[in-house]
Amino acid sequence: MNIIKIKKGVLSMPLFKLPGAHVPHHKNTASKQAVKMPVPKEIIMQMNMHIGAFAQPIVNVGDHVLVGQKIAQAGGYISAPVHCSVSGVVKKIDTVLESDGTHVPAIFIETDGMQEISDEVQPIKVDSYEDFVEAIKNSGIVGLGGAGFPTYVKFAIKDLSQVEAVVINAAECEPYITSDTRTMIDHLFELEEGVKLLEKFLGAKRIIFGIENNKKEAIDALSKTFKDDQKVEIKVLPALYPQGGEKVLIYNTTKRIVPEGKLPLDVGVVIINVTTLAWIARYIKTGMPLVEKVVTVDGSCVANPQNVIVPIGTKIKDVFDFCGGFKEMPYKVMYGGPMMGVALPNLDLPITKRTNAILAFNQKEATVPEPSNCINCGRCINHCPLHLDPPAFAKALDLNRPEELVKLKVNLCMECGVCSFVCPAKRPLVQKNRLAKATLKKYLAEQKKKEEGKQNENK
């Protein structure tokens, strides 16, 4: 094993250094072991806990369901099945209103507190690469870092010789969140097995952990475990947000640049979140699909900030209550970290597969600052990790020039939040970027339609 420490500003191969922002860490919960919370009275299993097609329920109202039982099947190629996290009775199959205003189907289950485990849960026999991918597919595991992309799709690789390196994303660059850190410490043995699986089935030549230097305990644990593994490298990177951004981490660990519209695999890299890997190993060993998550519960309003092992589908209200409730009235509650997290309209929404943190902010923190004129200071431009130009997006959008947006590559923006964070005028740049992306999408669709129309005329 190699530990490679990358000092700030001096990268091993000085092509260029990607900028970023020094966000406050707030990793208050990193040192406490995660605690398991009791089973709540009711859980809500959303059908969109992944990117892609909704899962299709395969249970009916009134059915008795058990822990680990498949209750919904994948709704397409890019989709994932859903497994029950509790034992109980299906109360209703209805919709949930998400904070973006969309209704998504969900299965509501009343729990019986018995936590009986389904017969379906049996250790998985994996002999070949195909078995491995099939196992991940059945496990319902999705990108647990927050992206929610069905993991098996990433591993469904036609030509395995393409894979030169597997990058394990352990950066966890978002403020507050420590659930990946806890996984690395508490579930180290599963991680070890996961790495072995990768070596065995993917034939990866290099396995690189990308981790920020503010996680000493996890780095120590990893280096001890993988001491004798020649293939494993641990890259200790400066804590510079967004270190865990896919393209950023691939560049910082392998010096490869994923071009626009291409996948990491096209540059020989498979990237996977560290918790996702641990959960894959756990599934293959025990057969228990993805039914619980380590969730960081933090923020100024939470009485006892800590990491909680939560059955998926638990309402966030129950999770906050388990952590002693609120110290003061929350004014903003969100899924995920404060840089990319989604603010929630109420406390009844459930923990999903991709939730790695829930935060509650008090009035002071929750207040959105008033934006003022752009002073052209260039902070957003010089801090954007992808070298984009957010004020130019805004200008092109206001002048309604979508062709300009194409040239400025607004579609590359990963909405990491750095530009808004650093802006002294507190301009809502990320929001504008999203709007610009949506506008561009619409424009391109219209262009395509026009062209098709022309072609039809020609025929």
């Binding site: 990607l18 922002a21 406050p24 209103l97 640049i257 994923v258 071009p259 626009e260 519209g261 009485a303 209200k317 906050f320 209550d321 409730g325 609120f326 110290k327 009235m329 929350p330 004014y331 903003k332 840089m339 997290g341 989604v342 603010a343 929630l344 309209p345 109420n346 406390l347 009844d348 923190e365 207040t367 959105v368 600052p369 008033e370 934006p371 003022s372 004129n373 752009c374 002073i375 052209n376 200071c377 260039g378 902070r379 010089n382 990790p385 992808l386 070298h387 206001d398 400025l408 590559k409 808004s420 964070f421 802006c423 002294p424 005028a425 507190k426 301009r427 990320v430 929001q431 999203r434």
Partner: protein
């Protein structure tokens, strides 16, 4: 503590923040565990609590426009202090009248135009102070007031306020004043603590090769003729270092601007001493540190700043060597201000992973 309604906070296309009452987002949560006690939430018509739903990110850096401007003011303090020491009461009166009138002018202008009054961002104070420091002690206070009004209202306000002006307000106002009040603004006043009979500035002496130059040390501490804030090199350098330490400006513009002037003068005159005199005289230091680093009117990226600084240096040297004015810093910065949008476009970085 709780309000009755939940708001959806968003920003419209004009960048204005709006709060909209939400009643369609329903929730069954009508109690909430606060301080260990279950307390009822103030229930609205729709039965909601009051959580703010806004776009990510949900945290912001502590840097704000007014903090940046405060840093610039702090960085200008040594120069302002030096000007009062060197030029006495007249300098003090000029500074106070320029700063006060700049702030007042912005307030009145924005109130009349029914805009949001932004004097608290301190940018008007910075403009007023910079203008005052760029005027000689011979300027009466009322001319300073007129200059401030031009800078804040005409050059900045009419173009849409902070960040939207294309030319540096203080420099533009000074150039206009030079044309309108050439007798006072163009005069070369010696510091009141120097009892010299000559009223020529070192630049004039250098150019015409006539008169007695102050020593380099005198140049460095500001014992020479010129505008009240431009003469004390050491005070300006302290301000510049402070701004760089606070990451308000980068080193590129000042170092390359001054460095290029030094090198060009060395080549053209073949004399280190003359080159040193050149960089210590006129408004070069105050211009390079405080004017050529103005956010709104100079390029944003490092390479852009390099181009900008070299351009300023070449024009400054050309005017000083061959122009009819002894000083060219203001003109050079003004000219490069106009080129800034083009430099910015030229130096735009290739998006990471972007395919052209």
């Amino acid at each position: 503590m709780t309000k009755n309604t939940r708001y959806y906070v968003f920003t419209d296309s004009n960048g204005k923040q709006k709060k909209v009452k939400v009643s369609h987002l329903d929730s069954n949560a009508n109690s909430i565990n606060v301080k260990g006690k279950v307390q009822p939430i103030t229930v609205t018509e729709a039965g909601t609590n009051d959580l703010i739903v806004s776009s990510s990110p949900h945290v912001w850096s502590k840097t704000t426009t007014s903090k940046i401007m405060l840093d610039v003011l702090i960085a200008l303090l040594p120069a302002a202090f030096a000007s009062v020491v060197l030029f006495g009461l007249q300098a003090f009166i000029l500074i106070v009248s320029c700063v006060a009138s700049a702030i007042l002018a912005e307030w009145i202008f924005q109130a009349l135009c029914k805009q949001k009054v932004t004097i608290s961002d301190l940018s008007a104070a910075v403009t007023g102070l910079l203008l005052a420091l760029n005027l000689p002690a011979s300027v009466p206070w009322w001319q300073g007031v007129i200059g401030s009004i031009i800078a804040v209202v005409v050059v900045k306000g009419l173009f849409g306020g902070i960040g939207k002006n294309f030319a540096n307000p203080a420099i533009t106002a000074r150039v206009i004043m030079l044309l309108a009040f050439s007798a006072t603004v163009g005069a070369a006043v010696q510091p009141s603590i120097v009892d010299a009979t000559s009223t020529a500035t070192p630049l004039y002496i250098l150019k015409e090769n006539y008169g007695i130059l102050p020593s380099l040390f005198e140049m460095f501490v500001g014992l020479r003729g010129g505008a009240i804030g431009e003469t004390c090199a050491i005070a300006l350098l302290i301000g510049g270092i402070y701004l760089m330490a606070r990451k308000v400006i980068t080193w590129h513009t000042p170092v390359i601007f001054v460095g290029t002037v030094f090198i060009l003068m060395l080549i053209l005159n073949g004399n280190v001493e003359v080159a040193l005199y050149e960089i210590l005289s006129g408004g070069l230091l105050i211009g390079a540190i405080f004017m050529a680093t103005d956010y709104a009117t100079t390029p944003t990226r490092a390479w852009g700043k390099v181009i900008f600084a070299i351009g300023c240096a070449i024009i400054t040297v050309a005017i000083r060597m061959w122009g009819s004015y002894p000083e060219g810093v203001s003109f050079s910065i003004l000219f490069m201000n106009i080129l800034t949008p083009y430099i910015d476009r030229l130096t735009r970085k290739k998006p990471f992973g972007g395919v052209r």
